[in-house]
Point group: C2
Chain length 187, copies 2
DNA sequence: GTCTATAAATGGATAGAC
DNA sequence: GTCTATCCATTTATAGAC
């Protein structure tokens, strides 16, 4: 019955579903069956909660990518990123929290922005490594630098998650498949 | 001094910068130098304003793509879409309104959602046609169907706009360049 | 840790005068 | 068309009892 933990879990869900600006202490209160004041006891301010949610999400992503790193095959490692993309941390109409936060970029507090820039850079660097290794071994193909290609793929996935929420999971899956098809050699 | 027009212009800017949920009549009031009540005179509700903004944006996009259609070369036509992506309708830290709205998808009123689904479908169909023609002429290369590739590229651009807002315009330009490099034949 | 009660600010919206 | 004045709901946040 770790309340702080509960708040973070439900908070992350609401953050992903509604965005930072549009979820409230009242929502959390209702979902958890405790008052808003009690939530304030665990997180003095919404900003503090926002930062905690950011850190938690960072951990989850990092862990998933690290597990993927145990594979040797670049394509198998890439699946780790797919797992991040598909609500590995939730289902339904969530989007990647990184996308939810980036959309609210002009609205979120400074302290959150820096956290998210870190996370995004971490993910892009990770993808770039997989791409570089994949190309080196002749398993993947793309023009230019792995870094730029990784940045592009990251953007695609963020956009796809938002598109998928409105148009259904099948569309999201189709886009992810297309990304991989574009990476395959001997097109 | 068409007030309705002014409200739409500033409203679109705020929608793109902050998202639907996070812009208010108070913001508009301050920017336009008239009271909230006056704005209500032109748009009875925020929902009505939201729909008007959606329609206006739709017009702008459609017009830009139609102009692009006057070119014969698929790559030149593709530039029309680039113009939509790069704040052709504004500068600075705006993102594509379609992205701003898709992020707020769970928050916006039904009436807006249908408008945006239409717009997005229109854009994707347009891209698909360009891609199909480009491939037919041997000027572009990609796996699978033009429709899926178009859906993917649309997602990429949406994601890239959000990424670019946080990380700078150069990054956005780099991603767009990468998208085109991926489309070029004889990779 | 959780509650009640309440504050202070902001949200969208309306009535009615000018 | 624009204003003042006001309404009611919601938001983040605090004080203090249990």
């Amino acid at each position: 019955m770790d309340r702080k933990e509960q708040i973070i879990e439900v908070g992350l869900e609401l953050l992903q579903k509604r965005g930072y600006a549009s979820f409230s202490y009242a929502d959390l209160s209702e979902r958890l069956g405790i008052t808003k004041a009690s939530i304030h006891h665990h997180f003095r301010s919404k900003e503090a909660l926002g930062v905690a949610l950011s850190e938690r999400y960072f951990e989850l992503v990092r862990q998933t990518l690290r597990e993927a790193d145990e594979h040797d095959d670049p394509w198998e490692r890439f699946e780790g990123y797919e797992r991040v993309v598909f609500g590995a941390f939730g289902s339904g109409d969530r989007i990647c929290a990184a996308g939810a936060v980036q959309s609210d970029y002009n609205v979120i507090p400074e302290s959150m922005r820096t956290k998210w820039c870190e996370l995004i850079q971490y993910v892009i660097d990770w993808i770039a490594q997989v791409l570089q290794e994949g190309r080196r071994r002749g398993l993947m193909q793309f023009p230019g630098s792995p870094e730029t290609q990784a940045m592009m793929i990251f953007s695609t996935m963020q956009g796809a998650l938002q598109y998928g929420r409105a148009h259904g999971r099948e569309e999201l899956e189709a886009i992810v498949r297309q990304v991989k098809d574009n990476l395959r050699p001997a097109a």
